[in-house]
């Protein structure tokens, strides 16, 4: 059972945090074992099988009731879209996107589906000071909007740039990201909608441990045509989504600088100051809120005045 936390209790805890911070000195970070759920599920993605049909994107939108995009999913021009020089990213309207790459020696394009990797030791979870994230025994990393204060630390912590903020709801903060279809499918042992939709079986659902065995076997049985590495087996401390590729992962836009240890370890020292953050932030947010509303008020006043002048 998850503890029910309300935003109010967080603020109260802030006070507790002040006291605790005074009493406890930040502890020095030490390496730790990744707590693994033995039966947790995952998805093995074989990049060499993906044909860029975007059936997974379409299935995700339908499953998660996301808004319909401007262009139909049959439209291939999205692969040329660049925002700030970057390829398409997941955002509050799409929890998964497929991007195209042109590796020099391949002779045909390569496609890669992007979504939350559902880390074993999620940086979003460990960076969140109100515990808005949970790693379920089934493997999903899910988010609880009821306790989120909208600080967006998770967006910065995630090594894969996955959580995005829904700006349309400033006062009920909401982080949007792939949830492994947890509430509608995973919980009942069913594969996520994208996996079911994929015509190429480029996405394979199963127990993470077994997917690693299948991945190894596929690498072995295909006479050196695959890169001898399963991306996500160790990256960021291991992820539930795993990847196989026939071209170097870097050529498909994978970040090869992601450390093999959990991101948590590298931010341990930062986490040492979290109790202090707890004490400051409520005040900080109250301040932001005041500033914002005062500005609005000032603008409203100004508008009222000018309307009066005009009349």
């Amino acid at each position: 059972m998850r503890e029910k936390i309300s935003r109010r209790s967080i603020l109260k805890n802030g006070l507790l945090g002040t006291v605790t911070a005074l009493l406890l000195r930040p502890k020095a970070g030490k390496a730790h074992d990744i707590k693994k759920y033995p039966d947790s599920m995952g998805v093995l993605v074989d990049l060499s099988r993906c044909v860029g049909c975007r059936s997974c994107e379409a299935a995700c939108r339908a499953e998660q009731n996301l808004p319909e995009p401007d262009l139909p999913y049959t439209d291939q021009t999205v692969f040329e879209e660049l925002e700030h020089g970057r390829q398409r990213r997941t955002d509050e309207t799409r929890f998964t996107v497929v991007n195209r790459y042109d590796p020099p020696d391949l002779g045909h394009p390569l496609y890669r589906k992007v979504q939350c990797n559902h880390c074993q030791e999620p940086a979003c979870l460990s960076s969140c000071f109100v515990n808005a994230y949970t790693k379920t025994p089934e493997g999903a990393v899910v988010y609880n909007p009821d306790v989120c204060v909208g600080c967006r630390t998770c967006m910065i912590a995630c090594p894969f740039y996955i959580p995005t903020f829904k700006y349309s709801s400033a006062f009920s903060p909401q982080i949007m990201k792939c949830r492994f279809c947890y509430d509608t499918r995973l919980k009942f042992g069913k594969p996520p909608a994208c996996v079911e939709a994929c015509p190429q079986e480029a996405l394979q659902f199963g127990k993470r441990d077994e997917l690693i065995k299948i991945g190894r076997r596929r690498i072995e049985e295909n006479n050196g045509s695959y890169v001898d590495h399963i991306y996500g087996e160790y990256e960021a401390g291991g992820t539930s989504w795993l990847y196989l590729s026939k071209v170097p992962f870097a050529q498909a836009g994978f970040d090869m600088t992601v450390p093999h240890a959990p991101i948590l370890d590298s931010v341990k020292n930062f986490l040492g100051i979290v109790p202090m953050v707890l004490t400051i932030w409520p005040a900080l947010f109250a301040g932001f809120h005041l500033l914002a509303t005062r500005k609005d008020q000032a603008r409203d006043n100004a508008r009222d005045n000018s309307q009066e002048d005009a009349s």
Binding site: L71, P72, Y73, T74, P199, E201, G206, K213
Partner: protein, 168 residues
Amino acid sequence: MRKLSPTAMLCGSILMVILCSFTGRPLAMEKDEAPASVTIDYLQELYTAVDFDHQMHADNYACNTCHHHTTGDGPANDTCAKCHGDSGPAGDVSCSSCHDRQQAASASPAGHRHSDVYHIDKPALKGALHLQCHGCHQVEDGPTGCQDCHAFTPKGRKIFGVHNNVND
């Protein structure tokens, strides 16, 4: 799949059983006995059925290009050949006789059929058909667009957000 009348199917099976009892194994199908066309209609949710021109493919490619070791001249793939080098033709050579309609949630060898112990990486039917067809079409310059082979159903158009005919 190919539509046969029940009588024809019964006669076929009886004939097969008689022949098998003589030879001890199913007989290899001759190329000209193969169906001219196969209707692939097991999964029609977002797309309509596919009328597969089996004749054209059989005329241009060896049986084992697609049927692995179940018919024709034995396995073309080294990995299959390890066990199926001379296991002979199979009684049922349809894709669906080996490739399950449902993708297994977990490909655990334990508790599965004997054949699955070795075929742990065997794709389900939808994956098998697409990997086989699309893979070859890429190399052989066959059609590779989704709607080159199957048209959308109304539900498919809805899911893919296609509201006009421009992207058909």
